[in-house]
Protein backbone atom coordinates (compact mmCIF):
# COMPACT_ATOMS: atom_id res chain seq x y z
CA UNK A 1 0.00 0.00 0.00
CA UNK A 2 1.43 3.30 -1.04
CA UNK A 3 0.60 6.50 0.80
CA UNK A 4 -3.17 6.77 1.29
CA UNK A 5 -4.61 10.09 2.36
CA UNK A 6 -7.89 10.16 4.23
CA UNK A 7 -10.03 13.01 5.50
CA UNK A 8 -12.82 12.45 7.98
CA UNK A 9 -15.14 15.36 8.51
CA UNK A 10 -18.43 16.34 10.00
CA UNK A 11 -19.76 18.30 12.94
CA UNK A 12 -18.16 18.74 16.32
CA UNK A 13 -19.74 16.14 18.61
CA UNK A 14 -20.17 13.46 15.93
CA UNK A 15 -16.98 11.72 16.96
CA UNK A 16 -15.00 12.80 13.91
CA UNK A 17 -11.66 12.98 15.73
CA UNK A 18 -12.20 9.65 17.48
CA UNK A 19 -12.94 8.00 14.11
CA UNK A 20 -9.63 9.23 12.74
CA UNK A 21 -7.87 8.14 15.90
CA UNK A 22 -9.34 4.65 15.69
CA UNK A 23 -8.51 4.23 12.01
CA UNK A 24 -4.95 5.47 12.57
CA UNK A 25 -4.55 3.29 15.61
CA UNK A 26 -5.95 0.24 13.82
CA UNK A 27 -3.47 0.66 10.99
CA UNK A 28 -0.44 1.61 13.05
CA UNK A 29 -0.76 -0.73 16.00
CA UNK A 30 -3.02 -3.63 15.07
CA UNK A 31 -1.90 -3.82 11.46
CA UNK A 32 1.54 -3.52 9.96
CA UNK A 33 1.25 -0.03 8.57
CA UNK A 34 2.51 3.39 9.48
CA UNK A 35 0.03 6.14 10.22
CA UNK A 36 -0.17 9.77 11.20
CA UNK A 37 -3.22 11.69 12.29
CA UNK A 38 -3.64 15.43 12.49
CA UNK A 39 -6.77 17.30 13.41
CA UNK A 40 -8.19 20.74 12.89
CA UNK A 41 -8.03 23.03 15.88
CA UNK A 42 -10.13 26.15 16.03
CA UNK A 43 -13.71 27.01 16.80
CA UNK A 44 -14.72 23.36 16.48
CA UNK A 45 -17.13 23.38 19.35
CA UNK A 46 -20.11 21.09 19.16
CA UNK A 47 -22.16 21.71 16.10
CA UNK A 48 -19.60 23.39 13.87
CA UNK A 49 -17.32 22.01 11.18
CA UNK A 50 -14.66 19.58 12.32
CA UNK A 51 -12.18 17.43 10.44
CA UNK A 52 -9.12 15.27 10.82
CA UNK A 53 -6.53 13.90 8.43
CA UNK A 54 -5.15 10.38 8.51
CA UNK A 55 -2.32 9.12 6.36
CA UNK A 56 -1.61 5.40 6.07
CA UNK A 57 1.45 3.93 4.41
CA UNK A 58 3.73 0.92 4.32
CA UNK A 59 6.62 3.29 4.83
CA UNK A 60 7.15 5.84 7.56
CA UNK A 61 4.86 8.81 6.92
CA UNK A 62 6.92 11.98 6.72
CA UNK A 63 4.71 14.86 5.62
CA UNK A 64 1.60 14.45 7.80
CA UNK A 65 -0.88 16.50 5.80
CA UNK A 66 -3.10 15.51 2.91
CA UNK A 67 -3.00 17.15 -0.50
CA UNK A 68 -5.51 15.14 -2.52
CA UNK A 69 -7.20 12.56 -0.34
CA UNK A 70 -8.11 9.19 -1.83
CA UNK A 71 -10.79 8.69 0.79
CA UNK A 72 -13.18 11.29 2.13
CA UNK A 73 -15.68 10.52 4.87
CA UNK A 74 -18.35 13.18 5.39
CA UNK A 75 -20.99 13.22 8.07
CA UNK A 76 -22.45 16.67 7.41
CA UNK A 77 -23.53 18.75 4.42
CA UNK A 78 -21.12 21.54 5.34
CA UNK A 79 -18.23 19.07 5.39
CA UNK A 80 -19.25 17.73 1.96
CA UNK A 81 -19.51 21.19 0.45
CA UNK A 82 -16.16 22.19 1.87
CA UNK A 83 -14.03 19.10 1.31
CA UNK A 84 -15.56 17.23 -1.66
CA UNK A 85 -13.68 19.31 -4.27
CA UNK A 86 -10.28 18.21 -2.91
CA UNK A 87 -11.05 14.50 -3.36
CA UNK A 88 -8.90 12.62 -5.90
CA UNK A 89 -10.63 11.73 -9.18
CA UNK A 90 -10.37 8.01 -8.48
CA UNK A 91 -11.16 8.54 -4.83
CA UNK A 92 -13.85 7.12 -2.59
CA UNK A 93 -16.51 9.27 -0.93
CA UNK A 94 -18.32 7.84 2.07
CA UNK A 95 -21.33 9.74 3.36
CA UNK A 96 -24.04 9.61 5.96
CA UNK A 97 -26.78 9.43 3.39
CA UNK A 98 -29.49 10.96 5.58
CA UNK A 99 -27.39 14.01 6.33
CA UNK A 100 -25.54 14.65 3.10
CA UNK A 101 -26.94 15.47 -0.31
CA UNK A 102 -24.28 15.11 -2.96
CA UNK A 103 -24.28 17.70 -5.71
CA UNK A 104 -21.39 16.85 -7.96
CA UNK A 105 -18.65 18.66 -6.11
CA UNK A 106 -16.73 15.43 -5.63
CA UNK A 107 -16.08 15.00 -9.35
CA UNK A 108 -15.72 11.43 -10.53
CA UNK A 109 -15.04 9.83 -7.15
CA UNK A 110 -17.12 6.78 -6.28
CA UNK A 111 -19.77 7.45 -3.65
CA UNK A 112 -21.15 5.08 -1.06
CA UNK A 113 -23.80 6.08 1.45
CA UNK A 114 -25.04 4.68 4.73
CA UNK A 115 -27.74 6.11 7.00
CA UNK A 116 -25.33 5.88 9.90
CA UNK A 117 -27.08 8.29 12.24
CA UNK A 118 -30.42 6.53 11.73
CA UNK A 119 -28.80 3.14 12.37
CA UNK A 120 -27.18 4.54 15.50
CA UNK A 121 -30.55 5.77 16.73
CA UNK A 122 -31.98 2.32 16.07
CA UNK A 123 -29.21 0.84 18.18
CA UNK A 124 -30.29 3.17 20.96
CA UNK A 125 -27.45 5.72 21.06
CA UNK A 126 -26.89 8.30 18.35
CA UNK A 127 -23.37 8.66 19.70
CA UNK A 128 -22.17 5.46 17.97
CA UNK A 129 -22.72 6.82 14.49
CA UNK A 130 -18.96 7.25 14.11
CA UNK A 131 -18.36 3.59 14.96
CA UNK A 132 -20.97 2.58 12.36
CA UNK A 133 -19.07 4.78 9.94
CA UNK A 134 -15.81 2.99 10.80
CA UNK A 135 -17.47 -0.36 10.08
CA UNK A 136 -18.68 1.02 6.76
CA UNK A 137 -15.23 2.48 6.06
CA UNK A 138 -13.62 -0.90 6.78
CA UNK A 139 -15.96 -2.72 4.40
CA UNK A 140 -15.81 -0.23 1.56
CA UNK A 141 -12.12 0.65 1.52
CA UNK A 142 -10.47 -2.56 2.71
CA UNK A 143 -7.57 -0.43 3.82
CA UNK A 144 -7.86 -1.45 7.47
CA UNK A 145 -8.32 -5.08 8.43
CA UNK A 146 -11.56 -5.98 10.23
CA UNK A 147 -9.79 -7.41 13.26
CA UNK A 148 -7.50 -4.42 13.51
CA UNK A 149 -10.44 -2.02 13.40
CA UNK A 150 -12.36 -4.04 15.99
CA UNK A 151 -9.36 -4.16 18.33
CA UNK A 152 -8.69 -0.43 17.94
CA UNK A 153 -12.35 0.33 18.73
CA UNK A 154 -12.28 -1.84 21.84
CA UNK A 155 -9.20 -0.08 23.14
CA UNK A 156 -10.49 3.42 22.40
CA UNK A 157 -13.95 3.41 23.96
CA UNK A 158 -15.12 3.70 27.57
CA UNK A 159 -15.38 0.45 29.51
CA UNK A 160 -18.89 -0.94 29.62
CA UNK A 161 -19.77 0.21 26.10
CA UNK A 162 -18.05 -2.65 24.27
CA UNK A 163 -21.22 -4.49 23.28
CA UNK A 164 -22.94 -1.43 21.87
CA UNK A 165 -19.86 -0.33 19.97
CA UNK A 166 -19.19 -3.77 18.52
CA UNK A 167 -22.83 -3.93 17.39
CA UNK A 168 -22.42 -0.54 15.77
CA UNK A 169 -19.23 -1.64 14.03
CA UNK A 170 -20.93 -4.79 12.77
CA UNK A 171 -23.92 -2.85 11.48
CA UNK A 172 -21.74 -0.56 9.40
CA UNK A 173 -19.51 -3.40 8.24
CA UNK A 174 -22.37 -5.64 7.13
CA UNK A 175 -24.25 -2.83 5.41
CA UNK A 176 -21.07 -2.10 3.51
CA UNK A 177 -20.48 -5.73 2.58
CA UNK A 178 -24.05 -6.05 1.27
CA UNK A 179 -23.55 -2.94 -0.77
CA UNK A 180 -20.41 -4.37 -2.26
CA UNK A 181 -22.11 -7.67 -3.03
CA UNK A 182 -24.80 -5.84 -4.99
CA UNK A 183 -22.17 -4.20 -7.16
CA UNK A 184 -21.12 -0.64 -7.45
CA UNK A 185 -21.66 0.36 -11.03
CA UNK A 186 -24.82 2.34 -10.37
CA UNK A 187 -23.12 4.24 -7.63
CA UNK A 188 -20.60 5.58 -10.01
CA UNK A 189 -23.28 6.81 -12.35
CA UNK A 190 -25.22 8.41 -9.55
CA UNK A 191 -22.19 10.30 -8.40
CA UNK A 192 -21.43 11.91 -11.72
CA UNK A 193 -21.88 15.67 -11.78
CA UNK A 194 -24.17 15.37 -14.79
CA UNK A 195 -26.62 13.30 -12.83
CA UNK A 196 -27.09 14.84 -9.40
CA UNK A 197 -28.68 12.43 -6.99
CA UNK A 198 -32.36 12.77 -6.35
CA UNK A 199 -33.28 14.80 -3.33
CA UNK A 200 -32.79 12.91 -0.10
CA UNK A 201 -31.95 9.71 -1.92
CA UNK A 202 -28.22 10.02 -2.16
CA UNK A 203 -27.59 7.09 0.07
CA UNK A 204 -30.38 4.77 -0.78
CA UNK A 205 -29.63 5.29 -4.42
CA UNK A 206 -26.01 4.48 -3.99
CA UNK A 207 -26.17 0.71 -4.27
Amino acid sequence: MARTEIRISGLGGQGVILSGYIIGRAAAIFDTNFATMTQSFGPEARGSACSCQVILSEERVLYPYIRKPQILVVMSQEAYDKFAPELADDGILLIDSDLVKINGRHGSAVTFGIPATRFAEELGRKIVLNIIMIGFFTAMTGIVKEDAAREAILQSIPKGTEELNLKAFKRGLEYGKELRAKGTSKTKAASKPSRPAAKGKAAKASP
Binding site: Y21, G24, R25, A28, I29, M37, F41, L62, Y63, P64
Partner: protein
Protein backbone atom coordinates in the same frame (compact mmCIF):
# COMPACT_ATOMS: atom_id res chain seq x y z
CA UNK B 1 5.40 -6.51 18.95
CA UNK B 2 4.44 -5.82 22.54
CA UNK B 3 1.25 -3.84 21.96
CA UNK B 4 1.12 -2.78 25.60
CA UNK B 5 4.10 -0.54 25.11
CA UNK B 6 3.06 0.62 21.65
CA UNK B 7 0.85 3.68 21.53
CA UNK B 8 -0.75 5.90 18.93
CA UNK B 9 -0.36 9.27 20.61
CA UNK B 10 0.12 12.98 20.11
CA UNK B 11 3.62 14.43 20.41
CA UNK B 12 2.52 16.29 23.51
CA UNK B 13 1.39 13.02 25.09
CA UNK B 14 4.69 11.40 24.14
CA UNK B 15 6.47 14.27 25.84
CA UNK B 16 4.52 13.65 29.05
CA UNK B 17 5.13 9.88 28.86
CA UNK B 18 8.85 10.50 28.36
CA UNK B 19 8.91 12.82 31.37
CA UNK B 20 7.33 10.15 33.55
CA UNK B 21 9.78 7.51 32.30
CA UNK B 22 12.63 9.93 33.04
CA UNK B 23 11.47 10.16 36.65
CA UNK B 24 9.84 13.59 36.47
CA UNK B 25 7.99 14.14 39.72
CA UNK B 26 7.02 17.80 39.54
CA UNK B 27 5.17 19.86 36.97
CA UNK B 28 4.37 23.52 37.52
CA UNK B 29 2.56 25.12 34.65
CA UNK B 30 -0.08 27.30 33.20
CA UNK B 31 -2.06 26.01 30.23
CA UNK B 32 -1.54 27.53 26.82
CA UNK B 33 -2.29 26.19 23.35
CA UNK B 34 -0.70 24.25 21.67
CA UNK B 35 1.08 22.88 24.75
CA UNK B 36 -1.89 22.23 27.03
CA UNK B 37 -2.04 18.46 26.46
CA UNK B 38 1.32 18.09 28.22
CA UNK B 39 -0.11 19.64 31.38
CA UNK B 40 -3.35 17.72 30.94
CA UNK B 41 -1.54 14.38 30.67
CA UNK B 42 0.80 15.06 33.56
CA UNK B 43 -2.05 16.20 35.79
CA UNK B 44 -3.33 12.63 35.45
CA UNK B 45 0.00 10.78 35.36
CA UNK B 46 2.02 12.52 38.09
CA UNK B 47 -0.27 11.70 41.05
CA UNK B 48 -0.07 8.04 39.98
CA UNK B 49 3.74 8.19 40.02
CA UNK B 50 4.22 9.86 43.39
CA UNK B 51 4.63 13.20 41.70
CA UNK B 52 3.08 16.62 42.17
CA UNK B 53 1.20 18.72 39.65
CA UNK B 54 0.52 22.39 40.25
CA UNK B 55 -1.31 24.77 37.99
CA UNK B 56 0.05 28.16 39.02
CA UNK B 57 -1.45 31.62 38.66
CA UNK B 58 0.61 32.33 35.55
CA UNK B 59 3.74 31.28 33.66
CA UNK B 60 6.03 33.40 35.84
CA UNK B 61 4.83 31.65 38.97
CA UNK B 62 5.01 28.31 37.21
CA UNK B 63 8.69 28.77 36.40
CA UNK B 64 9.31 29.86 39.99
CA UNK B 65 7.62 26.72 41.26
CA UNK B 66 9.73 24.60 38.92
CA UNK B 67 12.92 26.11 40.36
CA UNK B 68 11.78 25.64 43.95
CA UNK B 69 10.83 22.01 43.39
CA UNK B 70 14.11 21.31 41.59
CA UNK B 71 16.15 22.81 44.47
CA UNK B 72 14.28 20.51 46.83
CA UNK B 73 15.39 17.53 44.73
CA UNK B 74 12.54 17.03 42.28
CA UNK B 75 12.95 16.31 38.61
CA UNK B 76 11.02 19.33 37.60
CA UNK B 77 9.41 20.58 34.39
CA UNK B 78 7.03 23.03 32.82
CA UNK B 79 5.45 23.31 29.37
CA UNK B 80 4.28 26.37 27.52
CA UNK B 81 4.13 28.14 24.18
CA UNK B 82 5.60 31.41 22.86
CA UNK B 83 3.81 34.03 25.00
CA UNK B 84 4.30 31.90 28.12
CA UNK B 85 7.90 31.20 27.18
CA UNK B 86 8.49 34.97 27.12
CA UNK B 87 7.08 35.26 30.62
CA UNK B 88 9.32 32.49 31.89
CA UNK B 89 12.54 34.12 30.69
CA UNK B 90 13.38 36.00 33.88
CA UNK B 91 13.14 32.92 36.06
CA UNK B 92 14.80 30.83 33.37
CA UNK B 93 17.82 33.10 33.75
CA UNK B 94 17.68 32.54 37.49
CA UNK B 95 17.77 28.78 36.87
CA UNK B 96 20.81 29.17 34.56
CA UNK B 97 22.63 31.33 37.12
CA UNK B 98 21.80 29.23 40.18
CA UNK B 99 22.38 26.03 38.15
CA UNK B 100 18.99 24.53 38.77
CA UNK B 101 18.20 21.40 36.76
CA UNK B 102 14.85 21.68 34.97
CA UNK B 103 13.10 21.03 31.67
CA UNK B 104 11.13 23.71 29.84
CA UNK B 105 9.00 22.58 26.91
CA UNK B 106 8.00 25.19 24.37
CA UNK B 107 5.45 23.98 21.83
CA UNK B 108 6.01 26.75 19.32
CA UNK B 109 3.20 28.73 17.74
CA UNK B 110 3.27 31.97 15.79
CA UNK B 111 4.36 35.34 17.14
CA UNK B 112 5.34 38.00 18.07
CA UNK B 113 3.04 38.52 21.03
CA UNK B 114 -0.11 36.38 21.05
CA UNK B 115 0.43 35.51 17.39
CA UNK B 116 -1.69 32.58 16.30
CA UNK B 117 -2.67 30.24 19.14
CA UNK B 118 -2.99 26.90 17.39
CA UNK B 119 -0.99 27.07 14.21
CA UNK B 120 2.60 25.94 13.81
CA UNK B 121 5.76 28.02 13.83
CA UNK B 122 9.45 27.66 14.67
CA UNK B 123 9.84 31.29 15.57
CA UNK B 124 11.25 30.90 19.09
CA UNK B 125 14.50 29.22 18.10
CA UNK B 126 16.80 32.12 18.90
CA UNK B 127 14.68 33.09 21.89
CA UNK B 128 15.29 29.61 23.25
CA UNK B 129 19.02 30.35 23.06
CA UNK B 130 19.06 34.02 23.99
CA UNK B 131 15.67 34.79 25.54
CA UNK B 132 16.94 35.58 28.99
CA UNK B 133 19.56 38.26 29.45
CA UNK B 134 23.26 37.87 30.05
CA UNK B 135 25.73 35.26 28.81
CA UNK B 136 24.12 32.09 30.00
CA UNK B 137 24.43 28.36 29.38
CA UNK B 138 21.47 26.55 27.86
CA UNK B 139 20.70 23.33 26.01
CA UNK B 140 18.05 23.43 23.29
CA UNK B 141 16.80 20.36 21.47
CA UNK B 142 14.21 20.10 18.68
CA UNK B 143 12.86 16.60 17.94
CA UNK B 144 11.06 15.71 14.71
CA UNK B 145 8.88 12.64 15.18
CA UNK B 146 6.55 11.65 18.01
CA UNK B 147 8.86 8.76 18.88
CA UNK B 148 11.78 11.15 19.05
CA UNK B 149 9.84 13.52 21.29
CA UNK B 150 9.47 10.67 23.77
CA UNK B 151 13.21 9.91 23.70
CA UNK B 152 14.24 13.57 23.79
CA UNK B 153 11.93 14.18 26.73
CA UNK B 154 13.86 11.50 28.66
CA UNK B 155 17.19 12.86 27.43
CA UNK B 156 16.24 16.41 28.43
CA UNK B 157 15.85 15.32 32.05
CA UNK B 158 19.12 13.41 31.93
CA UNK B 159 21.00 16.40 30.55
CA UNK B 160 19.36 18.76 33.04
CA UNK B 161 20.34 16.54 35.95
CA UNK B 162 23.83 15.69 34.76
CA UNK B 163 24.81 19.30 34.06
CA UNK B 164 22.50 21.04 36.53
CA UNK B 165 21.17 23.27 33.78
CA UNK B 166 17.83 24.20 32.24
CA UNK B 167 17.09 22.25 29.05
CA UNK B 168 14.62 23.63 26.52
CA UNK B 169 12.67 21.09 24.51
CA UNK B 170 11.33 22.78 21.39
CA UNK B 171 8.27 21.18 19.84
CA UNK B 172 5.87 22.87 17.46
CA UNK B 173 2.16 22.71 16.82
CA UNK B 174 2.68 20.06 14.13
CA UNK B 175 4.61 17.41 16.01
CA UNK B 176 3.04 18.40 19.34
CA UNK B 177 -0.47 17.70 18.10
CA UNK B 178 0.01 15.00 15.46
CA UNK B 179 -0.56 11.42 16.40
CA UNK B 180 1.92 8.73 15.45
CA UNK B 181 2.94 5.30 16.64
CA UNK B 182 5.52 5.16 19.39
CA UNK B 183 7.13 2.34 21.28
CA UNK B 184 7.79 3.10 24.91
CA UNK B 185 11.02 1.91 26.48
CA UNK B 186 11.15 -0.79 29.09
CA UNK B 187 11.61 1.31 32.27
CA UNK B 188 14.27 -1.12 33.49
CA UNK B 189 16.37 -0.39 30.41
CA UNK B 190 16.26 3.40 30.52
CA UNK B 191 19.52 4.95 31.61
CA UNK B 192 18.73 7.71 34.11
CA UNK B 193 21.11 10.39 35.29
CA UNK B 194 20.91 12.05 38.68
CA UNK B 195 22.48 15.34 39.73
CA UNK B 196 25.95 14.94 41.30
CA UNK B 197 25.96 14.71 45.06
CA UNK B 198 28.19 16.65 47.44
CA UNK B 199 31.04 14.64 49.03
CA UNK B 200 29.42 14.74 52.47
CA UNK B 201 25.80 14.16 53.42
CA UNK B 202 25.54 17.03 55.90
CA UNK B 203 27.01 20.46 56.51
CA UNK B 204 28.50 20.77 53.05
CA UNK B 205 29.83 24.32 52.81
CA UNK B 206 30.90 24.72 49.19
CA UNK B 207 27.74 24.04 47.11
CA UNK B 208 29.26 25.71 44.05
CA UNK B 209 32.42 23.63 44.02
CA UNK B 210 32.51 21.70 40.73
CA UNK B 211 33.13 18.08 39.79
CA UNK B 212 35.35 16.96 36.89
CA UNK B 213 32.55 17.73 34.41
CA UNK B 214 32.38 21.29 35.75
CA UNK B 215 29.05 20.70 37.48
CA UNK B 216 28.48 22.15 40.98
CA UNK B 217 27.92 19.76 43.88
CA UNK B 218 24.80 21.40 45.25
CA UNK B 219 22.90 19.46 47.90
CA UNK B 220 19.13 19.27 47.77
CA UNK B 221 17.34 21.57 50.18
CA UNK B 222 16.30 19.77 53.32
CA UNK B 223 19.10 17.23 53.30
CA UNK B 224 21.23 18.73 56.06
CA UNK B 225 23.32 21.45 54.44
CA UNK B 226 22.67 25.18 54.61
CA UNK B 227 23.36 27.19 51.52
CA UNK B 228 22.34 30.29 49.67
CA UNK B 229 20.79 30.53 46.21
CA UNK B 230 20.95 33.81 44.36
CA UNK B 231 20.72 35.33 40.93
CA UNK B 232 23.63 37.59 41.86
CA UNK B 233 27.19 36.72 40.96
CA UNK B 234 28.36 34.36 43.67
CA UNK B 235 31.30 32.34 44.91
CA UNK B 236 31.62 28.74 46.07
CA UNK B 237 29.37 29.28 49.09
CA UNK B 238 26.58 30.66 46.98
CA UNK B 239 26.71 34.08 48.64
CA UNK B 240 26.93 37.21 46.47
CA UNK B 241 30.33 38.68 45.78
CA UNK B 242 31.75 41.71 44.01
CA UNK B 243 35.18 40.17 43.64
CA UNK B 244 36.08 40.57 39.91
CA UNK B 245 38.12 37.37 39.83
CA UNK B 246 35.35 35.25 41.33
CA UNK B 247 32.74 36.87 39.09
CA UNK B 248 34.77 36.27 35.94
CA UNK B 249 35.50 32.69 36.97
CA UNK B 250 31.79 32.06 37.53
CA UNK B 251 30.78 33.35 34.10
CA UNK B 252 33.43 31.26 32.39
CA UNK B 253 32.49 28.19 34.40
CA UNK B 254 28.82 28.54 33.50
CA UNK B 255 29.54 28.60 29.78
CA UNK B 256 32.30 25.98 29.96
CA UNK B 257 29.97 23.55 31.72
CA UNK B 258 27.98 23.21 28.47
CA UNK B 259 30.62 24.03 25.83
CA UNK B 260 33.30 21.71 27.22
CA UNK B 261 30.80 18.86 27.40
CA UNK B 262 29.48 19.28 23.86
CA UNK B 263 30.34 15.68 22.83
CA UNK B 264 28.11 14.44 25.66
CA UNK B 265 25.24 16.71 24.62
CA UNK B 266 25.21 16.93 20.82
CA UNK B 267 22.93 14.76 18.76
CA UNK B 268 22.14 15.01 15.08
CA UNK B 269 21.31 12.98 12.01
CA UNK B 270 22.96 12.92 8.58
CA UNK B 271 20.72 11.38 5.92
CA UNK B 272 22.17 10.57 2.49
CA UNK B 273 24.69 13.34 3.03
CA UNK B 274 27.98 11.85 1.83
CA UNK B 275 27.48 11.87 -1.95
CA UNK B 276 24.96 14.72 -1.94
CA UNK B 277 25.52 17.80 -4.08
CA UNK B 278 22.74 19.76 -2.40
CA UNK B 279 22.16 19.65 1.33
CA UNK B 280 18.99 20.52 3.20
CA UNK B 281 19.47 21.52 6.84
CA UNK B 282 16.23 21.29 8.80
CA UNK B 283 15.03 20.59 12.34
CA UNK B 284 11.79 19.92 14.20
CA UNK B 285 8.71 19.04 12.17
CA UNK B 286 10.05 20.88 9.11
CA UNK B 287 12.63 18.09 8.84
CA UNK B 288 9.75 15.74 7.96
CA UNK B 289 8.99 17.76 4.84
CA UNK B 290 12.71 18.05 4.16
CA UNK B 291 13.27 14.31 4.30
CA UNK B 292 10.30 13.69 2.01
CA UNK B 293 11.70 16.28 -0.39
CA UNK B 294 15.10 14.55 -0.32
CA UNK B 295 13.48 11.15 -0.96
CA UNK B 296 11.48 12.47 -3.93
CA UNK B 297 14.50 14.25 -5.41
CA UNK B 298 16.68 11.15 -5.01
CA UNK B 299 14.13 9.13 -6.98
CA UNK B 300 14.47 11.70 -9.74
CA UNK B 301 18.21 11.22 -9.69
CA UNK B 302 19.18 14.39 -7.85
CA UNK B 303 21.86 13.97 -5.23
CA UNK B 304 20.25 15.55 -2.19
CA UNK B 305 20.91 14.92 1.50
CA UNK B 306 19.50 16.10 4.80
CA UNK B 307 21.38 17.20 7.89
CA UNK B 308 19.17 17.41 10.94
CA UNK B 309 20.53 18.98 14.11
CA UNK B 310 18.58 17.65 17.07
CA UNK B 311 20.55 19.67 19.56
CA UNK B 312 20.25 23.21 18.20
CA UNK B 313 22.26 24.70 21.08
CA UNK B 314 25.03 23.99 21.79
CA UNK B 315 25.35 23.92 18.01
CA UNK B 316 26.99 20.92 16.34
CA UNK B 317 29.44 23.13 14.45
CA UNK B 318 31.94 20.44 13.44
CA UNK B 319 29.18 18.13 12.22
CA UNK B 320 27.58 20.93 10.23
CA UNK B 321 30.93 21.82 8.64
CA UNK B 322 31.56 18.17 7.78
CA UNK B 323 28.09 17.69 6.29
CA UNK B 324 28.31 20.87 4.24
CA UNK B 325 31.85 20.30 2.96
CA UNK B 326 31.97 20.30 -0.85
CA UNK B 327 28.25 20.88 -1.29
CA UNK B 328 27.12 23.15 -4.09
CA UNK B 329 23.98 24.37 -2.38
CA UNK B 330 22.51 24.51 1.12
CA UNK B 331 18.76 24.87 1.59
CA UNK B 332 17.42 25.87 5.00
CA UNK B 333 13.65 25.62 5.49
CA UNK B 334 12.27 27.08 8.73
CA UNK B 335 8.81 28.15 9.88
CA UNK B 336 10.15 31.59 10.74
CA UNK B 337 11.69 34.41 8.72
CA UNK B 338 15.22 33.04 9.00
CA UNK B 339 16.60 32.30 12.47
CA UNK B 340 18.74 29.17 12.65
CA UNK B 341 20.07 30.12 9.22
CA UNK B 342 21.88 32.99 10.97
CA UNK B 343 23.75 30.44 13.05
CA UNK B 344 24.49 28.37 9.96
CA UNK B 345 25.72 31.38 8.00
CA UNK B 346 28.14 32.18 10.82
CA UNK B 347 29.49 28.63 10.71
CA UNK B 348 29.53 28.14 6.94
CA UNK B 349 30.63 31.61 5.86
CA UNK B 350 29.99 32.92 2.38
CA UNK B 351 31.62 30.19 0.27
CA UNK B 352 28.55 27.98 -0.14
CA UNK B 353 25.30 29.50 -1.42
CA UNK B 354 22.53 29.20 1.18
CA UNK B 355 18.89 29.37 0.07
CA UNK B 356 16.23 30.05 2.69
CA UNK B 357 12.69 28.68 2.61
CA UNK B 358 10.63 30.59 5.13
CA UNK B 359 7.00 30.60 6.03
CA UNK B 360 5.05 32.20 8.88
CA UNK B 361 1.47 32.04 7.61
CA UNK B 362 0.53 29.18 9.91
CA UNK B 363 0.73 26.50 7.22
CA UNK B 364 3.57 23.98 7.21
CA UNK B 365 6.45 24.16 4.76
CA UNK B 366 5.60 21.56 2.13
CA UNK B 367 7.98 19.10 0.49
CA UNK B 368 7.17 20.83 -2.83
CA UNK B 369 8.45 24.16 -1.52
CA UNK B 370 11.73 22.57 -0.53
CA UNK B 371 12.00 20.67 -3.83
CA UNK B 372 11.48 23.93 -5.72
CA UNK B 373 14.25 25.59 -3.70
CA UNK B 374 16.69 22.74 -4.36
CA UNK B 375 15.89 22.85 -8.07
CA UNK B 376 16.45 26.58 -8.12
CA UNK B 377 12.90 27.43 -8.99
Amino acid sequence: MNTKRVRFVQGNEACALGAIDAGCNFFGGYPISPSSEIAEQLSALLPRHEGKFIQMEDEIGAMGAVIGAALAGAKSMTATSGPGFSLKQENLGMACMAEVPCVIVNVMRGGPSTGAPTSPAQADVLQARWGTHGDHPIIVTAPTTVQEIYHESIRAFNLAERFRNPVVLLLDEINGHMREKIELCDPAEIELWHRPKPPVDKNWERPYERNEEGVPLIPNFGTGSRFHVTGLDHGLTGFPTGDPKIRQALHHALIAKIEDNRPLILKNEAYMVDDAESLIIAYGSTARSARRAADILRKEGRKVGLFRPLTLFPTPEEDILRAAAGKKLIVVPEMNLGQYVLVLRRILGRDIPIIQVNRTDGDPITPDQIIAAVQGR
